[in-house]
Symmetry: C2
Subunit: 578 residues, 2 copies
């Protein structure tokens, strides 16, 4: 039995869970967190980097709350020259659109030295996370987990004996500032594939936990367990059911997750219950979260690998690994099975098969049967003045200096007044290389009528290179949407018949597959300005997003701190002091 | 005759000079500049870096104006997440204290996407420069030259046939953000010596222009002249007099400048005329500027080296070089003389001898004979909670989130109300290792009575290590000061007798030598809040500065843009819109 070279240790979330469950919380409460954001030296994968940490740790602290609680994060920007915001991914911010944490959209960035209070209700149990939403600060490491347990006296619709939390990400050795400059260059300098995949901020570069199986060959990691890049081992007891909460905040990569030798039963997606279904491996795209249950029903004398692999792009990054340690085995007992082998990176049928298994649990909210408006969004890669950009209906989003939420609320003319188009030219061939001709920069807003039903058709297309079409996971702020269906090629009117209106899953993130389309429906019932964008960080940086506004006149009491920049700041300044 | 391997080309400033002198400017005018600050890929020394550039170039564009002109720089922040400001080093900003470009002191940092108008009068001819003054953005490359010619119809008190401009700096391959984190770490991670010395943003790493003389040995640079790191050659004609304008914006290094085989006559220091004196080499500290005249009276069949070398720290950086090219010789004609050999790095007597030769030109403004207040500032290196800091009278400056100028002007209590001390304990032994005991962080202000005469005694001391005392060039904003004298050891009352009140030079930057003191005098005649600090960028980052405020109640019409952050921003916000 080979030694893994590291000592076992408890997962921090498990300890936290015990602490919080030992307390008797009688009713919804406000949970306060005091956070400092600052750059720290950290070794996510054994190579030391400068990482954007919170309270001196990477990833940031895990928030745990119960449905109905109010979370109050007192966030102090301790960076020297950079603004900062944090987006609470999956939290709909009903009634608190200024707390959505999107710079230039929902609030002015928090200046260095200043503290902003993110105060919002977590109304729905589920697996969420948080991350920076300004420049490429998510790529700099600004992220963490946000777990909402069921409310006091409520129960999950499934049983489990323990739970673990895995926040997945990808890591580059090149700093995020340099990546920004590379991506803004003409010609484009693409950031390339990540050096390392991380589980809870931990990965291994230049060595492997399972070296004998690694391709390309890597030396065996020699770890003691206390290293910042040592894996968090999942310690389980035989014949129990565990809940694994998984979320992906990758900058780029789509991932495949598997637990060697174990089936997983998917029960939650993006904070919504789904009809349980069983898989050997699952795809997870950036911006998505899931809960899966697994039973420790395998040979209890052995340990097993948990692995993540890159999908949808030719993988140049070794798989990420941690260990499922059956107690009372030693964590240093090397698994006899090799790590799970992921599906081929371009086996999109496998991915589609997974996506098509996801249905809402019975009793979930159903979509309205009809839409009031349909917006078709063509996804293309384009060149504008020689710069490589992503564009939606030929408009590449450049966030304005002015704040959308405040500008729209107070009638300040701060961005393109012409709304972007609801469709693209009928004769556009989505199978051909994206033509260059009409793309422009823009920052116009889709003004959505309040309390109406909107259908979004995300239409994928050929990128700049021949026969290339990429995966894009689209994330909507302020809402969940129903995923009505996926299709191949160009969306057409007759595809509407195939929409699933019976039990479509509610999500906040949905993928478009290469050369395909995805149909979404949501109701504009949450006054605010909401980003809708590809969750791949460099793609958003290159313009791949749109802005929705709904019922903004109903937004009350935006905190001044959220408005204190640019024209909204000017507006709020009186003349009396000068 | 060996080939230098590069082609000759004209210095850009020369071309600009011809352009501007060919125009007939009848009176003082406003000169507008439209600048975008953004990160760019650049190779200051042959290794590509991400550099903070202006309008796509590094260093930033040279400003040329005439005394009495108004300079109006419309500065747009094109950084993705960072604020920015620019300080116009040596310009006193009389009546425009909000245009001094010091974040948290004179203005709120300019947010990404926003434009700030720096509008100020350049009232005095001289050699100046500009640079970032937020975090360590100067180290990131945000700097350039600012040349003020004599006003229309006026003449310099010396003759010359042509002029050149050399802006000196030092360059690290580690990015400025990482340097900030290193310097803020416990234990301290010192940034070390620069990789390369730059002349007008150009240096050579891993090769030398004069390889056969380089220690340690380096290969000969093979340059064509068009490279970003190719030297700007100074092309001269025999038997002419040239003015060389030199300014140092080094992050760390004190430098020695020499022109091989040529004497230099110093005629200007920090924008003030001095009694001409002749030297073979000159010391220049960060924050200083000089004009020197040299006559092309050497063998006209030869070319000569111009060199800069590190002084005051054990040099680990190769000398910086460019070529003095006597026309009509080819620039590729290798000089027969080796590059000038600099004085020993720790030959402080040589440095002091240079400083002591500097006197004001006859007719220059004289200091008031008496002071109203004397402030003695002890310079120590300390540890606070394990962090290595620099402290002044045991207070290590941490700039507040709030803006000094606006807070003081409008009576907002935004920083330590207890002013920092005017002196240090009498029994403090400046020759012994700095004790750790009483140092604190602070942001208090020296409130100076308006229109009074202030003496500053900068008192050097032993740093943390035994028998170590460093050079610190102190720079005052908003003023020139008279340098009344330098002394050894601890300043005492009897030293006052030795003050030079007859012809002390006016400067904006003055050095303190190891274990010595320097006496300065200035008049508080410029309403505003002014930084006074060590111009070594990491030292300022580690707390080595103080804040002066004078006549702030007289400051009128601070632009709102300069106040639109923190409490001053809040103050200006009315309640009517929420």
């Amino acid at each position: 039995m080979a030694s893994l070279g590291f000592l076992f240790f408890f997962l921090l979330p498990l300890i936290l869970l015990e602490l919080s469950s030992s307390r008797s919380v009688m009713a919804a409460k406000t949970r306060h967190f005091k956070w400092d954001v600052e750059y720290i030296h950290w070794s996510p994968d054994g190579e030391e980097s400068v990482v954007m940490g919170i309270n001196g740790q990477f990833p940031g602290p895990t928030i745990r709350a119960k449905a109905g609680d109010t979370v109050a994060v007192h966030l102090t920007n301790k960076l020297h020259t950079e603004g900062v915001v944090i987006h609470w991914h999956g939290i709909r911010q009903i009634g608190t659109p200024w707390a959505d944490g999107t710079a230039a959209i929902s609030q002015c960035a928090i200046n260095p030295g200043e503290t902003f209070l993110y105060r919002f209700k977590v109304d729905k149990a589920g697996t969420y996370f948080y991350h920076g939403h300004y420049g490429m600060q998510r790529s700099a490491g600004l992220y963490g987990s946000l777990i909402v347990e069921v409310g006091e006296g409520e129960k999950e619709p499934f049983h489990y004996d323990g739970e673990f939390n895995l926040l997945l990400s990808d890591w580059w050795h090149k700093g995020s500032h340099e990546q920004e400059v590379d991506l803004s260059s003409n010609p484009l300098r693409w950031i390339g594939e990540p050096q390392t995949l991380l589980l809870n901020g931990r990965g291994q570069y230049n060595c492997s936990l399972a070296a004998r199986f690694s391709k390309p060959p890597l030396p065996q990691c020699k770890l003691r367990g206390g290293e910042q890049y040592a894996p968090q081992i999942l310690r389980v007891r035989p014949n129990k059911i565990y809940r694994l909460r998984v979320a992906s905040t990758t900058a780029l990569g789509s991932l495949s997750l598997a637990i060697g030798g174990h089936k997983m039963v998917v029960v939650e997606a993006d904070g919504n219950y789904v009809q349980p279904f069983s898989v050997q491996d699952m795809d997870i795209y950036s911006g998505e979260s899931y809960s899966v249950l697994f039973k420790t029903d395998q040979d209890p004398t052995k340990n097993y690998w948990i692995s993540i692999n890159v999908r949808g792009r030719e993988p140049k990054t070794p798989q990420g690994l941690t260990l499922l340690n059956y107690l009372p085995n030693s964590a240093s007992k090397f698994p006899t099975l090799p790590p799970p082998i992921a599906p081929l990176w371009n086996d999109y049928n496998h991915s589609k098969s997974f996506s098509n298994k996801i249905f809402a649990l019975m009793g979930s909210p159903k979509p309205p049967p009809q839409n009031h408006r349909r917006i078709i969004l063509l996804n293309t890669q384009n060149k504008i003045d020689g710069y490589t950009k992503w564009a939606i209906n030929n408009v590449s989003l450049v966030l304005p200096t002015q704040l959308y939420l405040g500008s729209i609320r107070y009638g300040i003319n701060a961005f393109d007044t012409k709304p972007p188009p609801d469709n693209f030219p009928k004769d556009y061939d989505v199978l051909k290389q994206a033509p260059n001709s009409n793309s422009t920069y823009g920052n116009g807003v889709y003004m959505l009528k309040f309390n109406t039903t909107i259908d979004i058709i995300l239409q994928n297309a050929n990128a700049l290179a021949k026969d290339v079409s990429e995966i894009h996971p689209w994330h909507l702020h302020g809402h969940d949407f129903w995923v009505l269906g996926y299709g191949e090629g160009k969306f057409s009117e007759k595809d509407v018949k195939k929409f699933n209106l019976k039990n479509p899953p509610l999500r906040n993130t949905a993928v478009i597959f290469p050369f395909g389309w995805t149909a979404l429906r949501f109701v504009t019932d949450n006054p605010g300005v909401w980003a809708f964008h590809c969750h791949i960080e460099p793609h958003l940086h290159m313009g791949m997003g749109v802005i929705f506004a709904e019922g903004v006149h109903l937004v009350k009491k935006i905190p001044k701190e959220a408005l204190a920049c640019g024209l909204t700041g000017k507006m709020l300044m009186s003349n009396k002091h000068n």
